[in-house]
C-alpha cells in the first residue's frame, strides 16, 4: 500500500504489487471494513455497506465485486469499521431539540427575498 497520492489524505492501492500480507493469528478475527462508493469523479463517497476481509487491500478487492459490479462507479473507499468513532446510542438526547431550532436550518432562510428587496431599493434610488 503506497501513499504517493495527489491527495495525501487518501492511500491508493497500486495494482502492480501484491501489497503487504497480514498475519491472522489463531483465534483472531478478520476485520470488517465499511465501503464507500463514488458514482462520478468529484462526487461524495456514499456508504453502501461492509465487507469482511483480512486487510484493507483485500477489502477493496472484495468491495469492487460486492458493491461496484452493477451501478455506475469510478472509485471506492474502504475504512476499517473499528477506526470509526461514534456517539453512544444513549447520548442521542444531545440532538433531541434540533427539530425546534429551525432557524439553524440553512434551507429555512428566506435570503433571496431580502436580496431582491435590497436590489429593488437600490435600483429605485438610481
Amino acid at each position: 500500500m503506497d501513499n504517493q497520492s495527489l491527495d495525501p489524505r487518501v492511500k491508493r492501492l497500486k495494482l502492480n504489487t501484491g501489497g503487504e500480507p497480514v498475519t491472522v493469528h489463531e483465534g483472531e478475527n478478520w476485520n470488517v471494513f465499511e465501503v464507500f462508493h463514488q458514482e462520478k469523479r468529484g462526487a461524495h463517497h456514499e456508504h453502501v455497506g461492509c465487507v469482511h476481509a483480512p486487510n484493507a487491500q483485500l477489502a477493496l478487492v472484495f468491495a469492487k465485486e460486492q458493491f461496484a459490479r452493477r451501478k455506475k462507479c469510478v472509485n471506492l473507499w474502504v475504512v476499517r469499521s473499528a477506526d470509526i468513532l461514534s456517539f453512544d446510542t444513549e447520548d442521542e438526547d444531545m440532538f433531541a431539540n434540533n427539530l425546534d431550532k429551525t432557524y439553524r436550518d440553512a434551507s429555512g432562510f428566506k435570503v433571496m427575498e431580502k436580496i431582491n428587496k435590497f436590489k429593488k431599493s437600490t435600483h429605485d434610488k438610481e
Binding site: L13, L15, N16, T17, G18, G19, P21, V22, T23, V24, V51, H52, A53, P54, N55, Q57, L58, V61, F62, K64, E65, Q66, R69
Partner: protein, 254 residues
C-alpha cells in the same frame, strides 16, 4: 491456410480457454471459502464466459462461423481447442487460485497485445475487456501474496499448486507454427513465444515478492495437445454437464 482460417484457429483457442476456465471457476459458486470471495470469484467466472461469448461472436459475425451457443455447446470433444490447464478439475482452492493467477496473467498479456491488432474486431474487444482483466489479475496477485506469507502450511500448499500448474500453464502457449507465422506477419498478434516471455517476466515479479519458486521452463514438460484437439480425460465430462440443458432442446428460445 488462409488469413481468416488462421484467425479463426487462434480465436477458437482463446474462446475455448475462457469458456472452460469460466465453467470450472463457476463450479466454486456457493462453495467459496468466504462469502465475499465466493461472490468475487463467481463474478470473474461470469466475466470469462462473457469473454468467450465476445470471441464466439467475432467468429460468427466476421469469420463465417457457427452461431455462438451452438458452437460453444454442440461441438465434439476433439473440436475444442482449449489447453489442459483449464480442463483440470478444481480440487482445493489453492490449485484454483494458482491456476487463476497463471491463466489471467497470460490472458492479460495476450489481450494487451491485441489492442494493437490489425484485425479490428479483436482490437475493439481487447480495449473493451481491458478493465475487467486488470481486476482479475489484481485479485489473483492479492491472494497469491497473502497466502504465501500466511504460515508454513499455506506456503507449502501454494508452492505445490504452482509446481502442478506450471507445466499445464505452459500449454497455453503451445505453438501452432503455420497459423502463427501468418498472424505475426499480418500484425494480428505477437506470436506465442513473445507472449510467453512477457508472461514469465510478469508472473516472476509477483511470485518472487511472494517468495515462491517458479520452476525453470527446461525442467518440466509443457502440457501440449489441447490446441490440436487432444484433451485430458476431464474435458468430456465437463462438456456433458455444461451442455446438458442446451442439448435438451437446441432450438429453444431463451
Amino acid at each position: 491456410m488462409t488469413r481468416n482460417e488462421a484467425i479463426s484457429q487462434m480465436l477458437t483457442a482463446m474462446a475455448d480457454d475462457a469458456l472452460i476456465q469460466g465453467h470450472r471457476n463457476s463450479e466454486w459458486t456457493g462453495l467459496g471459502p468466504i462469502m465475499e470471495e465466493d461472490i468475487a470469484f463467481s463474478s470473474m467466472a461470469q466475466d470469462k464466459i462473457g469473454h468467450a461469448w465476445a470471441l464466439y461472436r467475432i467468429l460468427h459475425e466476421n469469420l463465417g462461423g457457427t452461431e455462438p451457443d451452438r458452437f460453444a455447446f454442440l461441438r465434439g470433444e476433439k473440436d475444442y481447442r482449449c489447453c489442459h490447464l483449464v480442463e483440470m478439475p478444481n480440487g482445493e482452492y489453492d490449485f484454483s487460485l494458482v491456476r487463476h493467477f497463471l491463466f489471467d496473467h497470460a490472458e492479460a498479456v495476450r489481450w494487451e497485445h491485441l489492442q494493437q491488432s490489425t484485425f479490428e474486431p479483436l482490437a475493439l474487444t481487447a480495449r473493451k475487456l481491458k478493465g475487467e482483466i486488470k481486476y482479475h489479475t489484481l485479485h489473483a496477485n492479492a491472494w497469491i501474496t497473502q497466502l504465501c506469507r500466511a504460515g508454513e502450511e499455506s506456503y507449502a500448499r501454494m508452492q505445490s499448486a504452482l509446481n502442478v500448474c506450471f507445466p499445464l500453464a505452459l500449454g497455453i502457449f503451445e505453438p501452432s507454427p503455420e497459423a502463427e507465422t501468418l498472424l505475426v506477419n499480418e500484425k494480428i498478434y505477437a506470436g506465442e513465444a513473445t507472449l510467453k516471455e512477457q508472461w514469465l517476466d510478469r508472473t516472476y515479479n509477483i511470485l518472487s515478492v511472494a517468495g515462491l519458486n517458479l520452476p525453470s521452463e527446461g525442467s518440466v514438460t509443457p502440457a501440449y495437445g489441447g490446441r490440436k484437439g487432444y484433451h485430458t480425460e476431464y474435458l468430456q465430462p465437463l462438456l456433458d454437464e455444461m451442455g446438458y440443458v442446451f442439448r435438451l432442446d437446441p432450438e429453444a428460445v431463451w
